[in-house]
């Protein structure tokens, strides 16, 4: 068992009673179709949940405010979420906009939980005053984070008056599988989820709707379990406080 591209492709080919590939790149016909479907299923899993733990962009820093740090520049509002990214394809897959934190590495060590503010609200409430202030190079400590309309940048409000570190959680885009030895990023334990999704497409290809539906059910169940286990393993409690008030 392995979770590389060739192994997964061949597992599906065997299921379909088709000849295995020696290298994925040289596959033809149904082999090519299976190889394509593996990537399709892989991306489906990626797209199904925003913040897959296995897509973390980096190891979180200490203090634990995020796995990505962007230093601010005095007087600059907008920053690329992924520094140096050339286009949307190389940007992060997703960002947790509720978890932006500003940290002043120097005294007075300000630590602000930056509230996400929509562009509309920011325009309505803050843009004019901040623009006025900016004309006189009058900046302040950011309190809010806003998302640019292209989704590639975050903006700070107010415009920073010094160098701060902006911490947030970002999740990278996975690379589609191409070489035989390319591996999927999630644990091998969840390979059946990918196989089920691929099977869903392949049985559609073969006009076998019944088998396709079974594969879809298997995929959905597998994905739920995968998401629960990988993204929310912590215990979840629900408190009922009514008794508190009822108690004498």
């Amino acid at each position: 068992m392995a979770k590389d591209y060739k192994t997964i492709t061949n597992e599906l080919l065997v299921e379909l009673n088709e000849p295995e590939v020696s290298t994925v790149a040289t596959g033809v016909g149904i082999q090519k179709q299976v190889a394509n479907v593996v990537n399709r299923a892989y991306l489906d899993i990626v797209n199904s949940v925003d913040d897959w733990s296995w897509l973390n962009s980096d190891v979180p820093d200490d203090p634990y405010y995020g796995n990505t740090i962007i230093p601010t520049v005095v007087g600059q509002r907008w920053y690329l979420c992924k520094a140096g990214s050339a286009n949307i394809d190389s940007d992060f897959d997703s960002i947790n906009w509720d978890m932006f934190t500003l940290v002043d590495p120097n005294s007075p060590y300000t630590n602000n939980k930056l509230a996400f503010t929509t562009l509309t609200i920011w325009r309505t409430n803050y843009s004019s005053s901040e623009e006025q202030a900016a004309r006189t190079a009058s900046y302040a400590t950011p309190l809010r984070v806003i998302r640019s309309s292209d989704g590639r940048r975050f903006g700070l409000s107010p415009i920073p008056d010094k160098v701060y570190n902006i911490h947030f959680f970002a999740y990278k885009r996975p690379t589609v599988l191409s070489a035989d030895t390319d591996t999927v990023l999630f644990p091998e334990q969840y390979k059946p989820v990918l196989l089920a999704r691929a099977r869903y497409y392949l049985y559609q290809f073969k006009d076998n709707i019944a088998q396709s539906q079974l594969a879809l059910d298997e995929y959905k169940k597998g994905l739920q379990s995968m998401a629960a286990t990988l993204n929310s393993p912590q215990p979840s409690y629900m408190s009922d406080v009514r008794f508190t008030y009822l108690l004498p």
């Binding site: 009673n17 016909g29 149904i30 006009d207 076998n208």
Partner: protein, 601 residues
């Protein structure tokens, strides 16, 4: 989707002309059928091989492989071989006797003959004890037959003497094997493409006549007395055509044709006297076209010419020459054979039968080899490079034509096999296949005195081979391939995933190396093509009473059904069975294919 099945009965033989779409409906045919034969009992059978006659002790007739063999024929429970400038006979392939020898031996006394008379007068002769009626007798170097014997000193020859002599020795033909080597050789220089015919005269084996287009007609006979063979050899005189290429027996006569001076003339001997072309019953007929072959068919002699065919009858009275066609000829006389109640020959448009040609003249549908037209066209367009030979294997109703190319490797030597069968509708037809690696330049088949069919062949190695024997091509592997046409199981628009194939294969011994290969969608490179799968070890049935303990396979079934797990999918597919070994033969009789249909993409 449920698994479906398709049963394919293997039949029809090689079909190289039908469109791929038409072949969807005849999945039992073959698009490749090399070193297989269409079995008379159904299916395609891997052919037998050929082995040196005499096995490990086999010998080259002349002793030298540099002497070209120019013809062979089975005779007297042995084989007559023309090689170099000589003719040889052997009964075992090990010991060869040169038979083109002066077999006349001087007898007691001297004789005198008179011109214009057939009476021989002897002095001190013992005609009654040393001669018998119809014996070959030689006086003054001229050969006669003894017509009658009056006394020890008087006998009558079968025709009048031309020049008178007296006091000359009298000789009689016939010497034993031990005397052959010392006898004087009658050279047969520059022999080529020898033709043979046997006249069932006296003696156990009749007389064999040999022509080669260069030398006189040779007459050879072996008689047996007390298990001792006596050999007779001479060249025909008495106005016999000097260098005919072709010979045959028809209407109790020796018929020859193809003399260099008269290529369109058929000459025939006197009735019951194949050595006599001067009698009242002898004669000649000019057909006006170059004769390439003659063959007796029912009560007629069919004369195959370059551009026409004739039928000759009624030699006992006034000969009747009737034209069969003047639009179709025979390309090579060595292709003519009798099979299936008809004569088969190679015409410029393929193999034909005389009856078919007589019925429809020069129309192409008269060709019986339409299904292998590409093969025939290749053969015809390069025919000058080939030495053609053919045989009939009676027990299998089979016609085999070999086209040998000098200088070509053994694996490149080819041939065609046609099996005469009746299809499911009772219509007679030939089913074709190919041979590859069967290197035969000359071949012959006949029934021996025990009524067993014997088949011999020769090539440029100098050895004589037993054809249709063993499981190798003179020690080389038999590389056999049978490939079905692409089959679509009734719907070429639907993708089929194949899961299993059951093959009905009848083995004739142990065969562990047979393999099967599937190719999808006309062997498209855009479709994944699976590797070959082993069919598994096949073992012949062991029957109580004939099986040998320790050799036979316990529990083998008569017709094993071998199941193979296969992979792949496509809209159509073909199957190839192939082996390249020296194992036992087998016959592929049919297939059962399990598949799941699904998807029109």
């Amino acid at each position: 989707m449920p698994t479906q099945g398709a049963s394919i009965t293997v039949a029809g033989g090689l079909d190289l002309v039908s469109s791929s779409h038409a072949l969807f409906r005849t999945p039992g045919a073959a698009t490749i059928l090399e070193n297989f034969e269409s079995s008379t009992t159904g299916g395609y059978r891997r052919i037998n091989g050929y082995t040196k006659w005499g096995a490990g002790a086999s010998a080259i007739p002349s002793g030298s492989a540099l002497d070209s063999i120019t013809g062979i024929v089975s005779y007297a429970n042995g084989v007559v071989t023309c090689q170099g400038s000589n003719i040889y006979w052997s009964s075992d392939g090990i010991t060869w006797l040169q038979i083109n020898k002066d077999t006349y031996v001087t007898k007691t006394g001297t004789v005198a003959v008179t011109a214009g008379s057939a009476i021989v007068t002897g002095t001190g002769t013992a005609f009654t004890t040393e001669f018998a009626v119809n014996d070959r007798i030689q006086i003054n170097s001229i050969n006669y037959r003894v017509l009658s014997i009056t006394s020890d000193t008087v006998l009558t020859l079968d025709y009048n003497v031309v020049a008178a002599v007296s006091g000359v020795a009298v000789k009689k033909s016939g010497i034993v094997a031990g005397s052959l080597s010392a006898a004087t050789t009658i050279s047969r220089a520059n022999q080529s493409n020898n033709q043979f015919t046997t006249f069932e005269s006296d003696g156990a084996y009749g007389s064999l006549y040999i022509t080669d287009g260069t030398n006189k007609i040779a007459e050879f006979q072996i008689t047996v007395s007390g298990a001792v063979n006596t050999f007779y050899f001479e060249e025909l005189e008495r106005s016999a055509p000097t260098n005919p290429k072709i010979c045959g027996i028809f209407s109790e006569r020796l018929v020859v044709a193809g003399q260099s001076a008269s290529t369109s003339t058929v000459s025939y001997s006197d009735r019951l006297e194949p050595y006599n072309f001067t009698g009242t019953g002898a004669g000649e007929i000019d057909v006006g076209d170059i004769i390439v072959g003659i063959k007796v068919f029912r009560n007629s002699l069919i004369i195959f010419c370059k551009n026409s065919l004739f039928e000759l009858t009624s030699l006992d009275s006034t000969p009747i020459l009737k034209s069969i066609t003047k639009n179709i000829g025979c390309v090579n006389g060595n292709t003519i054979q009798e099979i299936g109640g008809d004569l088969i020959f190679l015409a410029p448009d393929g193999l034909r039968t005389v009856a078919g040609t007589a019925r429809i003249d020069d129309i192409e549908i008269g060709s019986i080899s339409r299904k292998i037209l590409p093969l025939i066209n290749t053969l015809l367009s390069n025919i000058a490079q080939y030495t053609i030979s053919s045989i009939v294997i009676r027990e299998r109703s089979q016609y085999r034509l070999f086209y040998h190319q000098s200088g070509q490797s053994k694996s490149g030597q080819k041939g065609i096999i046609g099996t005469f069968k009746f299809d499911e509708n009772g219509v007679p037809a030939f089913e074709w296949s190919e041979t590859k690696g069967m290197e035969l330049k000359f071949c012959t088949s006949d029934l021996n005195n025990s009524n067993e069919e014997v088949k011999f062949g020769a090539n440029e190695t100098g050895y004589i081979y037993q054809i249709d024997t063993g499981n190798n091509f003179d020690t080389s592997n038999i590389n056999a391939k049978f490939q079905t046409p692409d089959m679509d199981y009734g719907d070429n628009g639907l993708r089929k995933s194949l899961y299993g194939v059951k093959a009905n294969i009848k083995p004739e011994g142990t065969q562990p190396d047979l393999q099967m290969r599937i190719r999808y969608d006309f062997e498209s490179t855009d479709v994944p093509q699976p590797g070959a799968v082993d069919v598994g070890t096949l073992s012949a049935t062991s029957l109580y009473g004939s099986a040998v303990y320790g050799t036979g396979t316990y529990g083998a079934v008569t017709l094993p059904s071998k199941r193979m797990i296969v992979t792949g999918s496509g809209f159509s597919n073909n199957f190839r069975f192939f082996s390249d070994d020296t194992n036992a033969a087998y016959a592929v009789n049919g297939l059962f294919v399990s598949f799941i249909a699904g998807g029109r993409r």
